[in-house]
């Protein structure tokens, strides 16, 4: 390895460290609700204090958002990789669950849940 190689490695590590710190401080507060977007459009917002199971049947496929004990996770996904189920539970603002094949993103936000639940079609 040459000197400049180490420089590249150091620069990338530094950038990764800075980004990690920024994201850590940007989020981290306990959130109020989970906002689910499909294809970039808000499909619904659900309060974290409420225990609930919300099914999402979109043209891309099926996922169920489960909120238990103030945390949200995804179950029953029929996507090929099931990564969304493996991403675990989220409860702090900015944390996300992503199902790429279904273009579905669940993100914890500070706000309260909206009164009207819109189920994605």
């Amino acid at each position: 390895m040459k000197k400049k190689d180490f420089l590249i490695a150091a620069a990338v590590l530094l950038l990764a460290g800075i980004l990690a710190l920024v994201f850590r401080f940007a989020g981290g507060d306990p959130g109020g609700s989970v906002q689910v977007k499909v294809d970039g459009r808000v499909a619904g917002t659900y309060a974290l204090v409420e225990e609930q199971r919300v099914p999402f049947d979109t043209k891309y496929g099926h996922n169920t958002l489960v909120i238990e004990g103030g945390k949200a996770h995804i179950e029953d996904a029929d996507c090929p990789d099931h990564y969304c189920e493996q991403q675990g539970e989220i409860s702090k603002t900015g944390e996300t669950l992503v199902c790429l094949p279904h273009k579905l993103v669940a993100e914890v936000i500070t706000g309260e849940a909206s009164d009207v639940d819109v189920v994605a079609k």
């Binding site: 990338v12 460290g17 990690a20 970039g40 996300t96 790429l100």
Partner: protein, 177 residues
């Protein structure tokens, strides 16, 4: 890495044949990779074995050939082992990392390992950007720190492998002429 890039391929026929062999080799690497679990805590991280062909190709072959080999490899392995979506992810990652590695390959002060690390990192950056476009959510940037480090590590591994393979490839190419 700016070694003299005299064409090792000779006649057009030889050039096509060699490029074809390298596409096949890269595809075998892509396929082998599906059997190697490489868990970094974030889904979808791969070792990037096919990048060996690009790295060594950039040392011995005209850059156009390497770009074409890479594009054909991505197209064919997405069709065979992936799906339409994986084609876009691979293309974004592949093109971004190729551009960076090509620029670095013309420099004397960057080794194969430096090239490969940059390629690995940018490959992952390209994929995150594609994913962010697919789900239309910038929040995916949260995965960047892990993916940057992952690209660095896989890039260093592949770069080291490429360095070890280089003398053998050089020898093989001489007998090909």
């Amino acid at each position: 890495m700016a070694t003299s890039r005299k064409s090792p391929t000779g006649t057009p026929g030889r050039r096509v044949a060699l490029d074809g062999i390298l596409v096949a080799l890269a595809m075998i690497f892509s396929y082998m990779e599906t059997f190697i679990p490489f868990n970094f805590g974030v889904p979808g991280i791969k070792l990037g074995l096919a990048n060996l062909v690009v790295l060594l190709g950039l040392t011995f072959l005209p850059a156009v050939d390497v770009l074409l080999i890479s594009l054909v490899r991505i197209l064919l392995s997405s069709l065979l082992f992936g799906n339409v979506m994986s084609l876009w992810y691979s293309l974004a990652g592949g093109l971004l990392s190729f551009a960076a590695m090509y620029l670095l390959s013309r420099r004397d002060d960057i080794s194969l390992i430096g090239m490969s690390m940059t390629g690995g990192v940018l490959h992952n950056v390209g994929q995150v950007i594609t994913a962010a476009i697919v789900v239309r959510t910038l929040q995916l940037a949260g995965y960047l720190p892990v993916l940057l480090v992952a690209g660095l590590v896989t890039g260093a591994i592949i770069g080291t492998l490429a360095k070890l393979l280089m003398p053998r490839v050089q020898k093989a190419l001489q007998s090909f002429q």
